[in-house]
């Protein structure tokens, strides 16, 4: 088992560059999640690690081996596809053993490894079925079983849960997490769902438009985002942003009557900025003013209040589940200045 290193990896389709020089270190045994909006290049990057996409320039190392120009089958990786990509004409057992068969492993050894993987994933009663006769969750498990049987150095998951219904998705997420604990191999996991990223990852790589925005442990990204994009992407519901500017060495946010001091060194006068506060760090002041409560969703454990400011900016606030607020109220907001973030409007960089 081994880690994965990407150094200045670039991918071009013709003249169009989609991955712009990515450097990344994934430790041995780490669960690394690539996350980002669709089209950010996260799947492409994983497929380059798998060898399914050619790397235009740069290098990919798995363990101590440079695999940049190797065939997919020689890289010591196994992959779970979004569509599972099970061979429809083979039984579950044949599907799981196919990789070993193609590599000339003797039959008894294949049978042993398939049985072992089937035991881990509780697939034993299904071994003789064809994929068509399986449910979505079972197919998913077979696809995972296929990777386990191969015994790869690195496991790759390409949005594996996106074809499952919500309930099953939670179950499989837990199963994948426990599988990682059990096997302890390096895993790379691609998703656009930040909840999956937060719950599974040791390390999250946030990508946008073929570039890394930030790399870090889930809670580090949550607490300490480098820029507006990461701040807005990590956390659910997303962070609220209020725009403003610096005037006479102080912060001016039109939506807020009085702006608390954030204790930051502000840039020069006239610089446009955005104030970011997470829904869970905002409180509603029923006696205040300046905001209109459009709607409140009461989910029991928690409520989400949808507000708009006089400037038209919208906010979401997470509040007490049994809140006695009602729709169409005029309210104010309060927050702890230590929990607020300030970003440059132009570049999105965070001011610290």
């Amino acid at each position: 088992m081994s880690g994965v290193t990407l150094s200045n990896v670039i991918k071009k389709y013709g003249d169009v560059q989609v991955i712009h020089g990515i450097d990344l270190e994934i430790e041995n045994g780490e669960f690394c999640v690539f996350v980002g909006p669709s089209g950010c290049g996260k799947s492409t990057l994983m497929r380059m690690v798998a060898g399914l996409e050619e790397t235009t320039s740069g290098g990919i190392t798995i363990g101590t081996r440079d695999v940049t120009r190797l065939d997919p089958s020689q890289r010591g990786v196994a992959m779970v596809f979004q569509t599972y990509a099970l061979y429809p004409h083979m039984t579950v057992a044949e599907n799981m053993g196919f990789g070993l068969k193609m590599n000339g492993v003797p039959k008894p050894e294949i049978a042993e490894k398939v049985a072992e993987a089937a035991r881990i994933l509780k697939l034993e009663p299904l071994l003789e079925r064809k994929p068509k006769a399986l449910s979505g969750g079972q197919r998913q498990r077979v696809a995972i079983g296929r990777t386990i049987v191969r015994g790869p150095e690195v496991f790759l998951f390409d949005e594996p849960l996106s074809n499952l219904d919500a309930e099953l998705r939670v179950d499989m997420r837990v199963e994948i997490a426990s599988l990682h604990k059990q096997i302890g191999a390096t895993m790379i996991y691609v998703t656009h769902d930040q909840v999956e990223a937060m719950t599974l990852a040791d390390k999250i790589v946030v990508l946008r438009a073929g570039r890394i925005e930030q790399v870090g442990a889930p809670l580090d990204l949550y607490r300490d985002p480098d820029n507006r994009f990461v701040a807005g992407f990590i956390g659910s519901p997303a962070m609220n942003f209020l725009s403003g500017h610096v005037a006479q060495g102080a912060l001016s946010i039109p939506a807020l009557k009085d702006v608390p001091a954030l204790g930051l060194r502000l840039p020069s006068d006239g610089t446009k900025v955005e104030l970011g506060i997470r829904p869970e760090h905002l409180q509603i002041d029923p006696d205040g003013e300046g905001f209109r409560l459009d709607l409140i969703e009461k989910l029991g454990g928690i409520s989400y209040a949808y507000l708009h400011a006089e400037t038209g900016e919208r906010l979401i606030i997470a509040t007490d589940g049994e809140s006695d607020l009602t729709d169409e109220m005029d309210v104010g907001i309060t927050f702890n200045p230590a929990r607020a973030y300030l970003f440059l409007a132009e570049t999105g960089l965070r001011l610290r």
């Binding site: 399914l52 997919p72 089958s73 990786v77 990509a85 061979y87 196919f98 193609m102």
Partner: protein
């Protein structure tokens, strides 16, 4: 008022269906159903084409005599090893289909179809004239044999070539698109043009093939008049001619296979020929069935190639069933006997049509 008026013209779904289907059904009945039953009726008569044309009453009902005169003979006996080659293959086939079914490697219908086909191969060649006996029509069964041989060579030839071509030409490059068009183009030619092209190709003097053999120091083969080669020549021309449709069907089948499977295959070390064998081929099973059955039905009706390239010769080795029917009916004016042969051909092709229908409905086990 206007509402009532409108409802007066409204048709129920059933009425609309009847009206829209009527033109087709009329044509179908007049040109297919009626001639079909008329053909069966003619086959039960001693019916001379010329005589009946001049005098409609110059026909006599003879029951199944025509069938007997075509297919049977005097002192016909049956022996388990009268024609050892075919019969041993048939016997092996029967056992193989039973074995495949027992071990679960072949589905019920597939096993049954294979069993019946091989059983016929065992039973039919066993019939032969006993001592002092002879077939009433010495040419009929050899002609059937030639037709089966032709189908047996042309169908696998077309299927395998078309499948390999489709695998090679599947893709988005411009060259592949051009080649696909070129290979399909032969399909639109008429049989006259195709046979003309291949007569030139096979010509021992200026033909391309003769030139090639000479280039490598061989002496040219007189393809169309050499007994061992005439059938091969017809089969080659036919493969070239009917490649297109099969290739298109295979292309559709191949493009239906998810690209993910090949990527999974690449990770599993199955690329190139291995990917074709383990991923493409098993997923083309249905397409292969369709292509094979369609080709069988199509090629049992071979006529033009044999008629135009070799005139059934040399020594009747390329005489095929439809050409024999044609000659019996329009050269010998024996319309009754010809119709009996045509009914025989219909039974064979009907069998394969039913097979295709059944296989098409069979769910994957």
């Amino acid at each position: 008022m206007p509402r009532q008026h409108a409802s007066g013209f409204a048709l129920t779904q059933r009425q609309a269906a009847v009206i829209l289907l009527a033109p087709f059904l009329t044509v179908y009945a007049v040109f297919l159903v009626y001639p079909f039953f008329k053909g069966i009726w003619i086959s039960l008569h001693d019916w001379n084409l010329m005589a009946v044309a001049f005098n409609p009453d110059a026909k006599t009902y003879v029951g199944l005599r025509n069938y007997e005169r075509v297919m049977w003979g005097r002192n016909i006996t049956w022996g388990a090893l009268a024609s050892p080659g075919f019969q041993i293959i048939g016997l092996i086939g029967v056992l193989a289909s039973a074995f495949l079914y027992r071990t679960g490697r072949a589905g019920k219908v597939t096993a049954l179809a294979m069993g019946i086909a091989t059983l016929l191969l065992f039973v039919l060649p066993g019939f032969h004239p006993g001592e002092g006996g002879r077939w009433y029509d010495r040419r009929f069964w050899p002609t059937v044999g030639n037709t089966i041989l032709f189908v047996g060579l042309a169908v696998p030839g077309v299927t395998i070539t078309a499948m390999l071509l489709a695998a090679a030409l599947d893709g988005e490059t411009r060259a592949k698109a051009v080649l696909r068009t070129l290979f399909f183009l032969s399909q639109v030619l008429s049989v006259t043009v195709v046979t003309l092209i291949w007569q030139i190709m096979f010509s021992p003097r200026q033909g391309l093939i003769a030139n090639l053999t000479q280039l490598f120091g061989g002496s040219p083969i007189v393809w169309l008049t050499a007994e061992g080669f005439a059938m091969a020549a017809i089969v080659i021309a036919t493969i070239w001619w009917s490649l297109g449709i099969a290739m298109i069907l295979f292309l559709a089948g191949i493009q239906d296979i998810s690209k993910d499977l090949y990527e999974a295959g690449a990770l599993d070390n199955a690329t190139g020929a291995k990917a074709f064998w383990y991923i493409t081929l098993p997923n083309l099973k249905r397409t292969i069935t369709v292509v094979v059955v369609l080709q069988i039905i199509l090629h049992f009706q071979v006529f033009g190639q044999s008629h135009l390239m070799t005139s059934g010769g040399p020594n009747d080795t390329t005489q095929v069933l439809v050409r024999y029917i044609y000659q019996t009916a329009f050269r010998d004016s024996e319309l009754g006997r010809a119709s009996a042969m045509a009914v025989f051909l219909f039974v064979i092709m009907g069998g394969f049509s039913i097979l295709q229908f059944v296989l098409g409905r069979e769910k994957d086990e």
